[in-house]
């Protein structure tokens, strides 16, 4: 019960923040009713998807301070579980998604136990290693179609199919992911106020002090890692039904893992709004850069050069992210 209250209680944010958040929420809810390009719609859906990935990452990477660069593997597990179960057994999304989460979380416990004996760079590189190993494995595994991947044949189903999450128009997908989005925010709000949330933040500060306060550091990290995994896996399942065509290279690559971490870092790792702000900036940026620059003849790669440059600038100039800047300014004003 208290968890629910925690989830719904945003009172520790200043009025201004809540008003802005409310405005954005309303905008998101009514957006599809106004005329829009399909490009804008798909960008918004990507924004919501990546916000959720970022929120998940933020639990262990932001609040926990352990930089995880291997989240994509859980995206893959979630996406492929849903895709394979749909293809073979017509499994509804609402069943395959939880199963995907279960598989992902199980895997996360298996590798999490040894993984969290490491810290810092070593941990980060190890997460990359495990993710790439899994990706390599998926690329040769026949069950998941190897490097060719899996294609979901939408024609087999009568759209709109809420059970299997197959729709003709993006609008339906939009509202489904929007609900996930709001649920994710509520969950994160409850998380950062929960005992585990506090424990993590203490761990991030100073592990010895955390231990002296009775916190089992290793176990807290593993639990949080599992939560992050669940987020990513669930949305990965959605991703499969949305794009209907998945392969290891674009669901499990290192680039995606890094993108996820990037969203949260740019927006402000360790804060509630951070990943959302980060996604709000980076997703449209990436999409529009690609649109304007990527496809033009002879300009291959320019969009990513700009993208990379932006990452470099933010990392060097304001590593606490946008939200970090806001908080710094506020604190300065207070004193």
């Amino acid at each position: 019960m208290e968890t629910l209250k925690n989830a719904l209680d945003f009172s520790d944010f200043p009025r201004l923040d809540l008003t802005l958040a409310g405005a954005v929420a309303i905008f998101l809810m009514v957006f599809p009713f106004f005329s829009h390009s399909s490009f804008a719609m798909s960008t918004l859906i990507q924004f919501l998807i990546f916000s959720l990935y970022g929120m998940g990452w933020n639990t262990i990477g932001g609040y926990g301070g352990q930089v995880d660069l291997g989240k994509a593997q859980y995206l893959g597990i979630g996406a492929y579980t849903t895709a394979v179960m749909l293809l073979r057994w017509d499994t509804p999304f609402w069943i395959s998604m939880p199963i995907g989460v279960l598989l992902s979380v199980t895997w996360s416990f298996i590798i999490g136990y040894p993984l969290f004996k490491l810290k810092g760079h070593y941990f980060a590189i190890a997460t990359i290693a495990t993710s790439l190993v899994l990706k390599d494995f998926f690329e040769v595994w026949d069950l998941v179609g190897g490097s060719r991947g899996i294609e979901i044949l939408a024609g087999k189903y009568q759209a709109p199919d809420f059970l299997h999450l197959i729709f003709k128009g993006d609008d339906y997908y939009y509202y489904v992911i929007l609900i996930f989005f709001f649920a994710g925010i509520l969950f994160m709000n409850a998380f950062r106020k929960s005992r585990l949330g506090f424990q993590l933040r203490s761990i991030k500060d100073n592990e010895d002090i955390a231990r002296s306060l009775g916190i089992n550091v290793h176990w807290a990290k593993i639990k949080t890692y599992a939560i992050a995994t669940a987020f990513v896996s669930a949305v990965g399942s959605f991703h499969a039904c949305y794009v209907k065509n998945i392969e290891p290279e674009d669901t499990m690559s290192l680039d995606i893992s890094i993108l996820i971490a990037l969203m949260a870092m740019l927006g402000g790792a360790g804060s509630l709004w951070g990943p959302i702000i980060g996604a709000a900036v980076l997703v449209p940026l990436k999409s529009y850069l690609k649109e304007w620059l990527g496809a033009q003849a002879g300009m291959v790669g320019i969009d990513l050069i700009l993208y990379g440059a932006i990452i470099m600038i933010i990392s060097a100039a304001e590593p606490r992210g946008i939200w970090g800047m806001v908080e710094k300014a506020r604190r300065r004003r207070r004193s």
Partner: protein, 304 residues
């Protein structure tokens, strides 16, 4: 037996080249505790430098190595002074993501400038030649030269670090930057030098590599991961460690051959059906993981 000998010799040869690739990373990490995701892109740029210079000037590719080294040195120094210097002030997340951004920029710059097709060196003194040592050991001349030059480079760098003043200054900065500063060592310049040296060694490795490994703008990531594994195994900051770890990793990549040999020897048929070749680099990643768990300090590491 021949398969085994062939695999082992191939593994050792390639291992020496891998070791040179990793050398730069261990130097930079030893001095500055920063993990450079763009390391493989430096390699890639070294490869392109050597290739294009050879093609443009008609010079034998092996002679382009010093030039590639110079390019690498400058690149390293510029990256440090222009970017990394600011990066190290921030939290680790920012450092990792920052060098990742650098990786994206360098990779796509290469894509933009050079296009995405595979390119290899087709002409050169040693290209296509090899020495048959019997017993299944065949040593391609280019790989042999690369291995030899790698060993020479290692010795040179080791001498530089341990026998020259500037090398000692570098070590001092690595061990205790604050203390080094008190002793009058210009740590900023040492950092830049470390990046320059790291950059130079890896671009030279690239110049050697391109003689037998085709280059695309995407070739970097694989080598970055291999370099990480080698540095972890050998011990972050250890030069001899990087060398021996490189050999081990080289052997690991030849595991399919050794596996085949073992299959033949033991007669377990199921072994033949394991797609070892596809997993070649998986073993490297796994090796990294296992090493970090069992002996995080690596074989020779002094910094943890």
């Amino acid at each position: 037996m021949e398969i085994l000998a062939g695999s082992i010799s191939a593994g050792l040869l390639i291992g020496m080249v891998f070791a040179l690739v990793a050398l730069g990373l261990t130097i930079i990490f030893g001095v500055m505790d920063i993990v450079n995701f763009a390391h493989g892109e430096f390699l890639m740029l070294g490869m392109y430098t050597a290739l294009l210079t050879a093609q443009a000037t008609g010079v034998d590719p092996l002679l382009t190595i010093p030039f590639a080294g110079l390019v690498g040195f400058l690149l390293g120094v510029i990256c440090y002074l222009g970017f990394v210097k600011y990066l190290i002030r921030g939290p680790m997340v920012a450092q990792l993501l920052g060098t990742f951004g650098l990786m994206l920029v360098l990779r796509n710059l290469a894509l933009f400038l050079f296009g995405s097709e595979d390119r290899t060196i087709h002409e050169g003194l040693l290209v296509g030649q090899s020495f048959d040592m019997g017993m299944g050991i065949i040593l391609p001349a280019t790989k042999l030269a690369a291995a030899v030059l790698s060993v020479i480079s290692f010795i040179a760098v080791w001498l530089l670090i341990n026998r020259t003043r500037i090398g000692k200054a570098l070590m001092a900065t690595a061990l205790n930057a604050q203390g080094a500063r008190y002793m009058g060592i210009p740590t900023e310049r040492m950092n830049a030098f470390a990046w320059g040296l790291g950059g130079a060694t890896v671009t030279m490795a690239g110049a050697l590599l391109v003689n037998f490994w085709s280059v695309t703008p995407y070739v970097g990531l694989l080598f970055t991961m291999i370099a990480f594994a080698i540095v972890a195994l050998g011990g972050f900051g250890s030069i001899p460690g990087a060398f021996f770890a490189g050999l081990i990793v080289g052997l690991i990549t030849e595991l399919p051959g050794i596996w085949d040999f073992a299959t033949e020897m033991t007669g377990f048929d199921w072994m033949a059906s394991v797609p070892m070749t596809s997993f070649k680099y998986t073993w490297v990643y796994l090796a990294y993981f296992l090493i970090m768990l069992i002996r995080p300090r690596g074989l020779f590491g002094w910094k943890h």
